[in-house]
Amino acid sequence: MSPLEYVLVLSYLTATVRLTTPIGLAAMGGVLSERSGVFNIALEGMMLFGALTGVLGSHYWGSPWAGTAAAAGVGAVLGLLLAYLSVTLGANQIVSGVALNLFAFGCTTFLARVLLRPAGIEQVPAFQPLVVPYLADLPLIGPVLFRQTPLVYAALVLAPALTLFLFRTPWGLGLRAVGEHPRAADTAGLKVAQMRYGAVVASGMLAGTAGAFLSLGHLNLFTENMSAGRGFIALAAVIFGKWHPLGALGAALLFGAADAFQLLIQTYNLGVPYQVPVMLPYLLALLALTGLVGRMAPPAAAGTPYRAEE
């Protein structure tokens, strides 16, 4: 490889990892929620709120960590709201999720104009790359994987951790049972509503964190509608990854690679109209959904409210 090619490959792979992270974090949230039996269509809106809150938190508390914590907190609140609607009230999950997305789009756009511009908040303290000693010196892999911002590592660690949680712990077993057959789970003494609340709130926190990564991980500012459909691509990644945390991260990697490809094309101005590469991740997500990897079966009770016999 010539030095120029090396730099090109390096920047492409680094961008891939960076762009995979928000999709992957949100997709893992989607996995948790859907495994417990609740569709979280609102990932997109939660990301938007996370992105805005991240900037506000980072500005007022002077640290991207505080911003991310605030973003996760707001995500948790939105998750709580979605859980209340879908678990306690038994409201239609699709309608609730769509409503939350619409609200998030309007509210963040509105709040950005009211809170950011008048206060002159533009650039805020953002995450700096955290260089992992020794590993970062490996050729190619080092800079690609080990000179990233902390949330990238968080996503990488979270996927196996969630897999262990879901498939190797009694809590994970319970969560899956609640999503597959809530009545049986209920009979076996599991607290269906509680577990679903937990899963949806956790999924909100992950989506909020994903949003904070958008605004603090590489751009350090908030732009209107900056999630730009990544929450929906994350939903596609949940399905494509067959409701498995590692699968979801793998699918997110695919979409991240497509996203990075469009950046690459735009950066090097290859004469392709920008719309073509930007379209790529969406087309890829659609193709993935057409069932390239075989028929997909969601958790059996996903989407259905559960009510104990009264």
Binding site: L89, H181, P273, Q275, L289, A300, G303, T304
Partner: protein, 365 residues
């Protein structure tokens, strides 16, 4: 029971009312006086002939696309893809308006509308086919296709169709014969609103009086029972998705031949998403779509005035819309709980069941 029935049938109004109340908090955050802001909103929407005409202009695409989303909703399908379908419809109508010349106006307009319908229908049919034959949730596919559609039109308008020397991606003006006439002289209000009202009446009749309408409603309420009764559920779902996309396509076509008179990049400011709100709040009832569509058209029209005079950003309208749907979803669920013991009388206004619509196995509860 009677009081409850009254409350139940007016739920969407209560939901909107609640959303407007919460919206006052947001107005306060913006540093404006809530009542004064709403006063300006109302003034901007209806106070004079310009406000009214703007309301009609903004309501027109909402009505068509809302009717489309509503038809799908009645069949138990969540078509969140109206925005993309609007763009495809706009493109098709623009092509007819640009490249067919010398036609009598009536024929030209009808061709443009038909092209818009067909393009939107084709765009809506894709998620329909994916759902029916591959079991893919139509919510995600329609959402993703919005982005593809918007980018596709942007690509075409900034490349092959761009007017030479244009500072911004838009096409040459369409042929005059393809344009809809203005109905309030001196304003932008065009005949599209009349077409939309006629369409709503026709759809109302279709749902209430025809076999197809019965099939649509039946599949929406209970697909498995419909299948057992010999209805071809797949065909009905495909017709619903194509019809939904087609109507949203007409929304785009009407916007282009009625108001813009060219095809612009990003010509729809989110009408497709508003249409989802309109359809949900009216539970897919065509006449309800008219009421909600005009209401949200008025909100959009008045919001501009409100932004100019008291400095509250227009985006507050989108937040209010989202809140209204949230309130409605919550209140429908509460209402279902109330009426659970008397289920026989209840489900008239119940939103179609999710589980059935996504094709997931579910408990027979």
């Amino acid at each position: 029971m009677r009081a409850r029935g009254w409350v139940a049938s007016s739920l969407p109004l209560w939901a909107v009312f609640g959303a407007l109340l919460l919206g006052m908090v947001l107005v306060g955050v913006a540093g404006a006086h809530p009542l004064r802001a709403y006063g300006e909103l109302l003034r901007g929407a209806v106070a004079d002939v310009f406000g009214l005409s703007t309301t009609l202009v903004k309501a027109t695409p909402l009505l068509f696309a809302g009717l489309g989303v509503g038809i799908a909703l009645r069949a138990g399908l969540f078509n969140i893809g109206a925005e993309g379908q609007i763009y495809l419809g706009g493109l098709a109508a623009a092509l007819v308006g640009l490249y067919l010349q010398g036609l009598p106006s009536l024929l030209h307009v009808l061709l443009a509308l038909a092209a818009g319908f067909l393009a939107g229908a084709a765009w809506g049919l894709v998620p329909g086919l994916l759902k029916v034959f591959r079991g893919v949730n139509e919510v995600i596919t329609t959402l993703l296709m919005n982005y593809v559609g918007i980018l596709l039109i942007s690509l075409i308008v900034s490349g092959p169709l761009i007017e030479p020397g244009a500072p911004y991606p838009y096409t040459r003006p369409l042929a005059d014969s393809a344009l809809l006439p203005v109905i309030i002289p001196g304003t932008d209000a065009h005949a599209g609103i009349v077409l939309a009202l006629v369409t709503a009446l026709l759809l109302h009749a279709l749902l209430a009086r025809t076999t197809l309408g019965f099939y649509l409603r039946s599949v929406g309420l209970n697909p498995s029972a419909s299948a057992a009764a010999g209805i071809n559920v797949r065909a009905v779902l495909l017709v619903a998705m194509a019809g939904a996309g087609g109507l949203a396509g007409v929304a785009g076509a009407v916007e282009v031949i009625g108001l813009k008179h060219r095809l612009f990049e990003n010509f729809s400011p989110g009408y497709g998403y508003d249409a989802v709100v309109v359809a949900f709040l009216s539970n897919g009832q065509p006449l309800g779509v008219v009421a909600m569509g005009v209401f949200f058209g008025a909100l959009r029209s008045g919001a501009n005035i409100m932004q100019r005079s008291v400095g509250v950003p227009v985006a507050i309208v989108f937040a209010i819309q989202g809140l209204a749907v949230l309130f409605l979803a919550a209140s429908l669920a509460v209402q279902r709980r109330w009426t659970l013991p008397t289920l026989v009388a209840a489900p008239r206004s119940e939103a179609p069941r999710l589980a059935a619509s996504i094709g997931a196995k579910h408990e027979s509860s």
